[in-house]
Every structure is written in structure tokens, then in C-alpha cells.
Amino acid sequence: MTNGLDYPFLFQTFLVALSGVPIALLVTVVALLFALPTGFAFALSSLNNVPFIKQFVRLYISFVRGTPVIVQIFVVYSSVPLLLDIFFTANNINVNVYDIHPIWYAFIIFAFNTTAILIEVFRSALSAVDRSQIEAAYAVGLNTVQAYRRIVIPQALIVAMPNLCTATINLVKATSLGYAISLHEITLKAKVAANVNYNYVEAYIDIFIVYLLLCMTIEFLFRQYEKKLSKYKMQPSAA
């Protein structure tokens, strides 16, 4: 016989879970700040057949895509401290690697992971802009850099928007794996709260709702921005 849901706890833990949002968003934003320019640069060089980069990018993407994020987290979280420790000891740097805040590992893992995904997003978006647009840019006297900056990239960005939105949302959701390295984000905070009286159902419902709200907000923002950017695709109204 169960006693039904513990509503006061449900509400309290909702606030606890909500307090994990800043950490989840911080990891997301840092990962994106790294991945957006890096992914774009790699996509561009790989499309333009820059030697070695193309092969490197292909290998990198298969590594990231071919392994679960949680495994990447475990690998980085267990091996990086060892390597750092060796490095610190060898150079007489007095830092205890086990004092390093887990958020740094989260930054590294999610930045690298998102980069791989964004390379693919930008690669397809850049190839979606017709070659004729660059030719037209050349024909009016623009050089290659100007042609990309003024003509190709603005159009590619709009093509990339829906996929960028998906990647961002996936990233936000993936930060929940941070609980595995005791990062105090949404999931871990709610679970810790639930541990006291075994109110797991309430905690999970809270986590569920927080992610849902968070992702819906992100989706809404992306859609607004996309609408603003792509006004040129709109046919004139009947008026």
C-alpha cells in the first residue's frame, strides 16, 4: 500500500532540481562557446579539402560518435587525473588533482563531444548553400573571405538552425550524465534530495519537468531566432 505522492516534497524537490539549472546551462554554454567556432572551422577546412584536417576530422567524428557519452565521461574522468598527476609531480607543481572540480571534466567532455556533432551540422549546412552564391559574390568583386562572411555563412547559419537547436537540446539533456562524476546539476541534486526518504518517484517527476521546461524554452528561443533570420524566405502576404 502506497501513500500516493508526497506533494510538499514534490514541490520542494522541484526547487532543488531547478537550482541545478545554472550548472547545466553553464556546461552547455561553455561547451557551445568552444564547439561553435571549432566545429565551424573544422567543417570549413574539411569541405575545402585542407590536407590532413579532413582525415583528422573523419577520425575524430567516428571516435566521438562511436562511443556512448557516459563511457567518454568515465574515460576522461579516470584517465585525465592520472595524466595530470604524473605531469604535476614531474614538474613539481603542488596541486592535488583530486581537488579539481568535476565541472572542468564536464567542460572538456561536452566541448569535445559537441564539436564533433557541430562539425557535421556545419558541414551539411555549408554544402547546402549553392555554389552559385559564391560565384555571384566573386562576380561582384568580393574576395573569398568576404564571400563567405557576407553571403555563404549567413545563409548556412539559417540552414543549420534546426540542427543547432537539436544539438543544443541534446547537450542540455546529456549534462544529466554529469551526475556520474558528482557534478551537482539537476539530476544529481534531485536524487540526493530523494535519498533521504526514498522519494524517488517525486524526484524523477521533478527532474522530468525541469528538463522539459528547459528544453521547451530553448526550442522556443531558437524558433523565434530562426523566424527572424529567415524572413527573406517568406512570400509576401496576400494583403
Binding site: 552564391q133 555571384a136 562576380a139 561582384v140 568583386g141 557576407r150 545563409q155 517568406m234 512570400q235
Partner: protein, 251 residues
């Protein structure tokens, strides 16, 4: 003012241009005719290096450029003086008609925005689109888009405008408006090199007609020479195929 010497271009095994020589005088309208696959478009595109010819020379305003070794700088300088009108218009999709016309002026020529806009408005007036300044390409008909394409070219005040089959992508009823604009530009004395299938335009407007087939120039001359007294059998065959049975040439 513009001379092409022994231009060669190969795509894989396909030898598209097999040593083409052409010369264009200042103020002339030169029309290039020929069956599809004859290399006309490739030739035109190689003039401003949208396609890089494998061998040959481009002599423009007393400067000789070797197509094989042309540097970025040389190509860039050339493009500042030679404008291009595309078959599929190639308007910048995310820019308005006016922005399409001013882009080259503001970004490539570093002109001030209001100055560029003044020129842009004038160019769009010239092609009859003064009430479409703020329209995006998707909101315009094919004929209107191509007129923006032409306005974009003339706004640059180029020494030569290259037209690559400017009316072939258009619905038949829209061809007229574009040809009208082109005739008007021709009357202004702008040097034009036009690849087209519009025989009437060639006949009425051209100072020189060049007939190409299989990557070489078969014959060239005034419209009268080409249309009324073609010397080469290939030219005769081509004209017979493209002109209606009862077509009479009045020149």
C-alpha cells in the same frame, strides 16, 4: 579592349575549349551563338575566372594575364572591371533587391552606404524595378530577378558585362522584358559579351556574332554576314535548325 588568345579548357577527358581566340572592341555587343555543348558558357565563365582555363591568355586593357598562372590579385583586379549576369540570376537569396545591387559597391569597392544606395536605386530604376527595392528574390518573378541581376552588374559601372544565357531559364512571356533592358544597355554603349539563343537579339543588337561549335570558333562576322551569308556549312546547319522555316532576315 578584351582579347582571348588560344583558350583551352578540359573537364576530365572532355576537351571543352580547343584553342579559342576572340576579340572584343570597346562599346561592342558581341553575341556568341552555338549548339549546346559547344563551350560558349565555359568560354564566358573563363573570362572572369569563374572557370580557370587550362591554357591561354586574356588581354584586358593592355594587360596580359596568363590563365594558367593568374594570381588571386590579378583575378580580383579583373573582376572589379568585368561584371557577370548569370543564367539562373544567382541573386543573393538573403538580401533585398537593393542590397543585392549595393553589396559589391559597399563591400568590394568600399563605397559609403548612402552613396551606394543612390547608385543602386538608379540601377534598379534603369531596369524598371524602382518599386521593388525592398523585395527579396523569392518575392520576384524570374524576369524581375534577372533584371535585378542586370542592375547588379551595371551598378558596378564595369567596362564589360558578360551575359550567360540570361533568358534561357525564363518563362517565354518573361523573356521580352529582360531583352528590352539588355537592348537599352547596349544603346548606352556598354561593352557586352552575350551568350544566348535569342536570334532576334543577336540580329538586331549585335555588332559582331561569333558562332562556336565543338570548342572552337567556326565563324565570326557581322549579323548580316552570319545570318544572311554564312560561309561555313556548320553555321548553315545550325541556323537552319534554330530558325523557323519561313524566317526572313531583315538587316
Amino acid at each position: 579592349m578584351l582579347q582571348l588568345k588560344d583558350i583551352h579548357k578540359q573537364f576530365g577527358d572532355n576537351h571543352v575549349l580547343k584553342g579559342v581566340d576572340i576579340s572584343v572592341e570597346k562599346g561592342d555587343v558581341v553575341v556568341i551563338l552555338g549548339p549546346s555543348g559547344s563551350g560558349k558558357t565555359t568560354l564566358l565563365r573563363s573570362i572572369n575566372f569563374l572557370e580557370r582555363a587550362d591554357a591561354g591568355e586574356i588581354i584586358f586593357q593592355d594587360k596580359t594575364i596568363d590563365t594558367k598562372t593568374a594570381t588571386k590579385k590579378e583575378i580580383h583586379a579583373l573582376r572589379q572591371k568585368i561584371a557577370f549576369v548569370f543564367q539562373n540570376y544567382n541573386l543573393f537569396q538573403h538580401k533585398t533587391a537593393l542590397e543585392n545591387v549595393t553589396e559589391g559597391l559597399i563591400i568590394a569597392r568600399k563605397m559609403k552606404k548612402d552613396e551606394a544606395e543612390k547608385i543602386g536605386v538608379q540601377a534598379l530604376e534603369k531596369v524598371g524595378l524602382q518599386d521593388k527595392l525592398d523585395a527579396y528574390p523569392v518575392q520576384l518573378s524570374g524576369g524581375q530577378q534577372q533584371r535585378v541581376g542586370i542592375a547588379r552588374a551595371i551598378a558596378l559601372n564595369p567596362d564589360v558585362i558578360l551575359f550567360d544565357e540570361p533568358t534561357s531559364a525564363l518563362d517565354p512571356e518573361l523573356v521580352g522584358e529582360v531583352l528590352e533592358v539588355m537592348k537599352e544597355i547596349a544603346h548606352d554603349g556598354i561593352t557586352m559579351v552575350v551568350v544566348t539563343h535569342e536570334m532576334d537579339f543577336a540580329r538586331q543588337v549585335a555588332d559582331k556574332v561569333i558562332f562556336m561549335a565543338d570548342g572552337v570558333v567556326v565563324e565570326e562576322g557581322t549579323p548580316k554576314e552570319i545570318f544572311v551569308h554564312p560561309k561555313e556549312e556548320r553555321t548553315r546547319q545550325f541556323l537552319k535548325r534554330v530558325l523557323p522555316e519561313d524566317y526572313t532576315v531583315y538587316i
